[in-house]
Symmetry: C2
Amino acid sequence: MLTETKTGYTVKQLADLAGVSIRTLHYYDEIGLLKPSSVGDNGYRYYEEEAVYRLQQILFFREMELGLLQIKDIMEQPEFDLMMTLVTHRQALQDKIARLQTLIHTIDQTLAHLTGEVDMTKKKLFEGFTEEEQERYAQEASEKYGAATVQASMQLWKSYGKDKQAAIMQEGKVIYQDMLAAMGQGATSAGVQAIVARWHQHLRYFYEPTPEILRGLGHHYNDDPAFHANFADLHPDLPAFLEQAIMHYCDVQFPSA
Amino acid sequence: MLTETKTGYTVKQLADLAGVSIRTLHYYDEIGLLKPSSVGDNGYRYYEEEAVYRLQQILFFREMELGLLQIKDIMEQPEFDLMMTLVTHRQALQDKIARLQTLIHTIDQTLAHLTGEVDMTKKKLFEGFTEEEQERYAQEASEKYGAATVQASMQLWKSYGKDKQAAIMQEGKVIYQDMLAAMGQGATSAGVQAIVARWHQHLRYFYEPTPEILRGLGHHYNDDPAFHANFADLHPDLPAFLEQAIMHYCDVQFPSA
DNA sequence: CTTGACCCTCACGTTACGTCATGGTTTATC
DNA sequence: GATAAACCATGACGTAACGTGAGGGTCAAG
């Protein structure tokens, strides 16, 4: 009682962790966007893990230039799903990269024009900017983060029932054990590829991964130190093996991606 | 006198062209960032070509999230050079793309974490955001758009003297004629490659193009309708020939790029 | 106890416009 | 020439997302 333990991040700790200001955290609390997990007797704000994840989400939304109240609305919807939203962020980021590539294209054309090589319409000078405006409006529409996809995801998960949900979570644990046992068959063998298919289906219980995500995960398993160490603990060759198996699976299932 | 001709874009025309608001143009006039080229007897603002280019620059700076007064300062420096700045914008855009790629990487890791595959430090949740902050600070430094590179560029051009400057501009006209005459030798021949080297040097009188820019220009000459038409008027095979010749030149000169 | 770091609330200021009011100017049509 | 719609101007208040500073309480180490 007298030494009540205070857990969680203080404002300075969280601000440093996430690269935002303390004032930002105050403001987000004030507008109800990110409430602290608890407030101590001293009036201090304390943030737990859930709040940390929520802040990450907010930063992604902010990167997409959504307004704070808009972000709050989206996250307050009962069908808000963390993973589905991350997938949507991913798509939005790729759209943004495409637009930046367009700006680079515009620069190259302007440079060539200024060195006298070709005429250029005035409209082309702003290629990428006007599209940027259009993209911004599109982002403001709720469809991108929207009800349709997110609702489908939640309904799908809820439709499984408690027993099946538990079985799905257990299945996830079994897949890597089976993969380990099948390493002797080779990464491209029918047996291993069947396990990769189960891994793919396992992911699909949570969200619909694009081919690119699948490839990206396969690469991270081998290349990312944390992933690598996690799997190498099971077997030193497992990380590279997983990458090979997943890449082959993607080559076969998605030949054009 | 009585029917004084008014030329240039009105605010609505320029706003539509560039995808900005009329209010923005008013504001930019007010703060001295973008003055109209002339003001009619009726009080209307009219913008000529020079102002259009200036607006493009402003939009690029704005894309890099520089403040308006900061942008104004940069553009008021006597050594401000349009082309050199475009090259700098290009680099900044590529840095920005790299950062967005990092955010995608963070998403992939978060997704894998949430499906139970690996532990993830809280710090990794914000990978890309904190770097974003650092990048923003770096952008605010004047070095990126800065005095050093821009000064060097201007001094270089001024050091040529009027006669040499005229000769350089004339050389630019000759290069494409020589290229046309040498088409029979093949894109990878020593004669054609020597002309590509002259083209490269020609660009370098204006700015230092990166290998990527060289490749990008080579590709645009063939792929972009305006470029393509311009060169195809000289010879129908010239656009593709130029691309081949430039790509080969870049392969040889910059084997690792 | 002292000091420095950290915490709080309060409140004004900044930046880059968005929006509206009021009224003059231009253009096209009848 | 008259009319209506589109366009132009200035002026001014408001907004979003904080930045900054004031004043004062809390915590931890020496």
